[in-house]
């Protein structure tokens, strides 16, 4: 049997097995989930033949599945992150109910993503896209918080995106008579400008929603933070990349080759604005989940910018960041999940000082945050560097500044995240907190190791990125294992950086620990220099509330401007309109009869113009 079909069947079967497994018994269910989480990636890495294709005709539409290298790159994200998240979920969801639904939806969304990445035609792309959407919707509302608001918002935006895509698809079908992606790309040059823009922009809109580009991002904070964190890591890490996947081939394969780079440029700008605004929002969140959600949006903004610029280096940067973002956001959401599970809340105004209680969690969070902030020597820096260099090489100086502003401001929330949850004073109410279970820790550690390794050897990611870029028309992408080079020939040797950092760090570690560490006593965080005041254990001195008040004051004029509010007003307006419209159903039967008569009279009066006799 075809390995691609089998892959789909394995995932679907896994979903059903987990569903019924959990229906029967929790332990059986967990074992099933664990097995499925192992089997899927193992099968994918060992058995799937990436040159294989399978095609069939359904309802008159020719459909074809088959990997290309570009899809494979994203598939790797899915195939590595999702199983880890599944394993993490076993620990994280232990006390939850409705696990059957949870794992079913989880695996179905994996199915959707896998399918999207191997679709070679629009119909199957759309089918899998929608499967992904509804399964993720089920997870967004899984916890039952804010169902009406967040869930509906997510669904509405997803639907708008998906339907924009659908509209593009049918128009494409009309113009090319084929649903194949390659036919579309091939005949794009022959379209009229109007069709080019219509189909392309509709497709872009569809993908942009999933990648949370600026005016379409409002679903994301709520959706990311409301979902069980085990899934959010996939949601933000992998699922949002599906939008990036689509943006990549639309922007690069279509617009760049049809001399319509302006579209990509606009998109890049939207990405940059997204990055800035989302970062500003993230800075002022006090819920760690929301913070990470906004941070995700901002990070996706970088990626979109990279893709939108469309040069070799920028796309490489975008794709590399996509991979890295999957890893560190995966970790961070898992971290928040662990904190939520162990401490009961993720409100950074409440939680503090967990670092001593949850050292492993803190460690992974630290690694992920360093990678997120793009600080050398970890992998995140590499992506940032390439992004900046590509922008500078292109003389997009304003965009550089935007991105830089965003990533500088990102330090603020990065620190706040670590400080709010793990540092600060250790409160008695969190004394009971213990380290999360190994099932949860191990996936986080594995991803952290990945982040550490990419700091010195980003080439292991570049390899696949470069492969994937061949499908975007960039053959012979220049990459080295640990040397980054920009278009002007300037380079950074990250291995040297790593070396330098490690050597200095170790040297001074010895210096400072030798004859010091042992003799000092570890004291509680309540024992601080406080101008002679005695702090009692129950006094919470942690400075957490309004952490960035001054910054908030600076940004006052920008923060007033809330997109969400406009959407909500728009929604309210629509609802009022709907309410008004349905008043025509007055409830009085006689009125309905009058409508009929009036309608008939109108038709008769205009019969000449309607029927044209």
């Amino acid at each position: 049997m075809n390995s691609l079909v089998l892959l789909i069947l394995i995932i679907a079967g896994g979903a059903l097995l987990s569903y019924f497994g959990h229906k029967i018994n929790k332990i059986l269910g967990n074992i099933t989930v664990f097995a499925v989480a192992l089997i899927i990636p193992i099968y994918w890495f060992t058995q799937v033949d990436f040159t294989e294709t399978v095609s069939f005709t359904v309802s008159g539409f020719h459909m074809e599945l088959g990997y290309n290298m570009y899809g494979k790159l994203f598939s790797m994200i899915v195939m590595i992150l999702s199983p880890l998240a599944l394993i993490y979920a076993i620990g994280y969801m232990k006390d939850q109910k409705k696990l059957a639904t949870f794992y079913f939806s989880f695996l179905f969304s994996i199915l959707g993503m896998t399918g999207i990445l191997m679709s070679r035609d629009f119909v199957s792309l759309f089918i899998f896209w929608e499967i992904m959407t509804w399964s993720s919707y089920l997870l967004v509302i899984f916890l039952g918080k804010d169902v009406q608001k967040t869930g509906i918002k997510y669904m509405v935006f997803s639907a708008i995106g998906a339907y924009a895509m659908l509209m593009a698809i049918v128009i494409i079908y009309k113009n090319t008579g084929s649903m194949m992606l390659s036919d579309y790309f091939g005949s794009f040059a022959g379209f009229t400008l109007q069709t080019k823009l219509l189909t392309g922009i509709l497709l872009l809109l569809g993908f942009a929603v999933k990648s949370a580009v600026m005016p379409l991002h409002v679903w994301a904070p709520g959706a990311y933070s409301n979902t069980p964190m085990a899934y959010t890591s996939v949601f933000s890490g992998a699922l949002s990349k599906m939008g990036i996947y689509g943006l990549g081939f639309v922007v690069v394969n279509l617009f760049a080759q049809a001399n319509l780079e302006i579209v990509g440029y606009v998109l890049a700008w939207m990405g940059a604005i997204t990055a800035v605004l989302a970062t500003f929002s993230a800075v002022f969140q006090h819920d760690a989940k929301k913070l990470l959600a906004y941070s995700s949006i901002a990070q996706l903004g970088y990626i979109v910018t990279g893709i939108g610029i469309g040069t070799e280096l920028s796309i490489m940067a975008g794709l590399y960041l996509a991979v890295l973002h999957a890893a560190f956001k995966g970790v961070l959401f898992m971290v928040v999940g662990a904190v939520e599970r162990q401490a009961g809340t993720t409100d950074m105004n409440v939680v503090s000082g967990l670092a001593r209680k949850m050292p492993f969690t803190f460690f992974t969070a630290l690694i992920a945050i360093i990678a997120l902030a793009g600080i050398p020597p970890l992998g995140g820096f590499v992506g940032k560097w390439m992004l900046y260099e590509s922008l500078i090489n292109n003389s997009n100086f304003l965009m550089v500044i935007m991105i830089f502003l965003s990533s500088t401001a990102a330090f603020l929330y990065c620190f706040k995240f670590l400080f709010g949850l793990f540092l600060g004073q250790q409160e008695p109410e969190f004394d009971h907190v213990k380290e999360a279970s190994p099932v949860m820790i191990i996936p986080m550690l594995l991803l952290s190791v990945f982040l550490l390794v990419t700091g010195a050897y980003p080439g292991i990611v570049f390899k696949y990125v470069a492969e994937g870029m061949t499908n975007l028309g960039f053959h012979d992408v220049n990459w080295q294992m640990s040397v980054l080079t920009n278009a002007w020939g300037d380079s950074v040797n990250v291995q040297h950086v790593y070396l330098s950092v490690v050597v200095v760090f170790v040297a001074f570690l010895i210096f400072i620990t030798w004859r010091g560490y042992k003799h000092s006593t570890k004291i509680s965080t309540k024992d601080i220099s406080s101008s002679g005041e005695m702090i009692k254990p129950e006094d919470n001195m942690t400075y957490a509330m309004d952490f960035y008040k001054p910054f908030q004051r600076v940004l006052q004029p920008i923060l007033k401007w809330k997109i969400n509010k406009y959407y909500e007003d728009f929604g309210k307006g629509l609802e009022a309109l709907f309410d008004f419209m349905r008043r025509i159903y007055t409830g009085n039967g006689q009125t309905y009869a009058v409508y009929v008569i009036i309608f008939l009279a109108i038709l008769l009066i205009f019969s000449k113009s309607i029927f044209g006799y």
């Binding site: 929608e130 916890l143 509906i152 049918v170 609802e575 039967g589 009929v596 008939l600 019969s607 029927f611």
Partner: protein
């Protein structure tokens, strides 16, 4: 030929309906059992006939030994046969579902089943008949059935709903009769094929007036805006299975009559543009109203209107792709809406108000029914891998084919609204804390069976739509081939 004659579709239910009271006198449970047997038999012969249909050679049955145009004839073609098969199939399922639907308040089931039999006969009659006046008679049968069963329950505002329906239904019948009369006066015949031949010579102004009268009269039955005020009331007040039959069969026969008249009988320029506009208005008003509904059934009813509007739009393209899409949508709507109404019957069983917010957390206490409802909702909004998706896709492809991009945009925008209100319900069903002390009425085994069959069909067609596309294509060709229809009904027609 004797055992599988399309005439049984009408004769048998009628006979059973007439005799049902007698069976009741003999042995009470027969009232429930006999209709089931009849429905099963009908479903069997419809499948048998339909699957053995020779393409291009519809089965023409003449009544009382007179060939058309003198006698009344029945046409079991790829198109009408498809819909008949659908109706018999659904009728059987509705029977399975309502076999022991409710013990309380349902104990005059003799009347219920009698009416159901008559309704099936009526809607099949509308579809099969080749005579326009006969079609009117059967439409009236379905209409009176609906008045009767809408008002079936005493406790609700059902009489009000039925009265509204009756008021509009009477107007509809008046307009249809006027149209038939005018038509008869012009061509002197009532046979549809014969009219189709002779209608070309009618004065266009006269023709347009006839068309308008048909449009309005049949539009009321087909739930067209602005004449669909009765729909939400009737759907929401009727018993669950009856509402299902409204959506699955009644509305189908209404739209069938509309398209049969305008595709085959009367060829009027411009009517399809009108249908397009009215279809779009129907969609918009219905879905927007559905959005703001607080009652589950009313919401479903408005959604049903919206679907009918979509079907109208699909048929208004007057292209093969459009008809195909329209048929697909009809199929979907029949199956999925039936499932939704059947499951909502149990969901709203215990709540007096039938408010959506009373359904919080029902996913937990009524898992199967909620699952079925969720499935139906997923399918109706067109999410893959359920059958609704293919209908919508084909519909949009057909729209694009006709270069109506703004219609695509409009349909999709409205579809977003649709998603919102369906998913609101799903959110409540599954992800809300349930209210305290809710009575649980888990579905009986037969209801579970009926709903499962529908669900299987939805998923099956969703995963592999080619199960039905062949038949739909054939039906499309049949409907599009007006000359073929005339020729097969009137083989000896010398075109004088």
């Amino acid at each position: 030929m004797v055992i599988t004659d399309p005439v049984y579709f009408i004769a048998l239910p009628l006979l059973t309906a007439f005799l049902l009271p007698l069976f009741g006198k003999i042995y009470k449970p027969l009232i429930g059992i006999i209709p089931g047997l009849v429905f099963a038999f009908l479903a069997y012969i419809s499948f048998d006939l339909y699957l053995n249909l020779v393409p291009g050679k519809p089965i023409i049955i003449q009544m009382a030994g007179w060939a058309p145009p003198w006698g009344i004839n029945l046409v079991f073609s790829e198109f009408s046969g498809l819909i008949v098969t659908l109706i018999t199939f659904l009728a059987f399922l509705v029977w399975v579902y309502s076999y022991n639907f409710k013990k309380v308040g349902f104990d005059n089931s003799k009347k219920y089943f009698t009416l159901l039999m008559l309704m099936v006969a009526g809607s099949i009659g509308v579809v099969l008949t080749g005579d326009i006046f006969n079609m009117f008679v059967f439409l009236e049968i379905t209409a009176i059935y609906s008045y009767g069963l809408t008002a079936f329950y005493k406790g609700r505002d059902s009489a009000e709903a039925a009265f509204k329906y009756l008021l509009l239904g009477s107007l509809s019948s008046v307009f249809i009769l006027l149209a038939i009369l005018l038509l008869y006066k012009q061509v002197g015949t009532l046979n549809m094929a014969d009219i189709a031949v002779k209608a070309q010579s009618i004065d266009p102004k006269m023709k347009s007036i006839i068309a308008i009268l048909f449009f309005v009269g049949l539009g009321i039955e087909a739930e067209m805006f602005p004449m669909n005020g009765w729909v939400p009331d009737a759907y929401s007040q009727a018993p669950g299975p009856v509402a299902a039959s409204f959506a699955g069969m009644l509305a189908k026969s209404g739209i069938y009559a509309l398209i049969r008249v305008f595709y085959t009988v009367l060829e009027v320029k411009g009517v399809f543009d009108l249908l397009l506009i009215m279809g779009l208005l129907t969609i918009i008003f219905a879905e927007f109203s559905a959005m703001r509904q607080k009652h589950l059934r009313r919401m479903l009813a408005y959604s049903s209107i919206g679907q009918m509007g979509l079907i109208m739009v699909a048929f208004s393209f007057n292209t093969k792709a459009g008809i195909f899409a329209g048929l697909f949508l009809m199929f979907n709507h029949a199956i999925i809406k039936t499932l939704l109404f059947l499951s909502s019957g149990f969901l709203t069983y215990s709540t007096k108000q039938k408010k959506i917010r009373d359904l919080d957390g029902f996913g937990k206490i009524m898992p199967f029914t909620s699952l079925m409802f969720g499935l139906g909702a997923f399918a109706i909004v067109g999410l893959p891998p359920f059958s609704g998706f293919w209908g919508k896709l084909n519909m949009l492809v057909a729209t694009a084919d006709s270069n109506l991009y703004f219609v695509i945009a409009l349909i999709l925008l409205v579809a977003v609204v649709e998603i919102v209100y369906y998913f609101k319900v799903i959110g409540r069903l599954y992800f809300r804390q349930q209210h305290k002390d809710v009575e649980v009425h888990n579905p009986t085994w037969n209801a579970i069976l009926a709903m499962s069959i529908l669900a299987i069909v939805i998923i099956g067609v969703g995963i592999y739509p080619d199960l039905i596309t062949d038949y739909l294509t054939k039906a499309t060709n049949e409907l599009f081939d007006k000359a073929g229809y005339i020729h097969s009904v009137l083989p000896n027609l010398s075109l004088n």
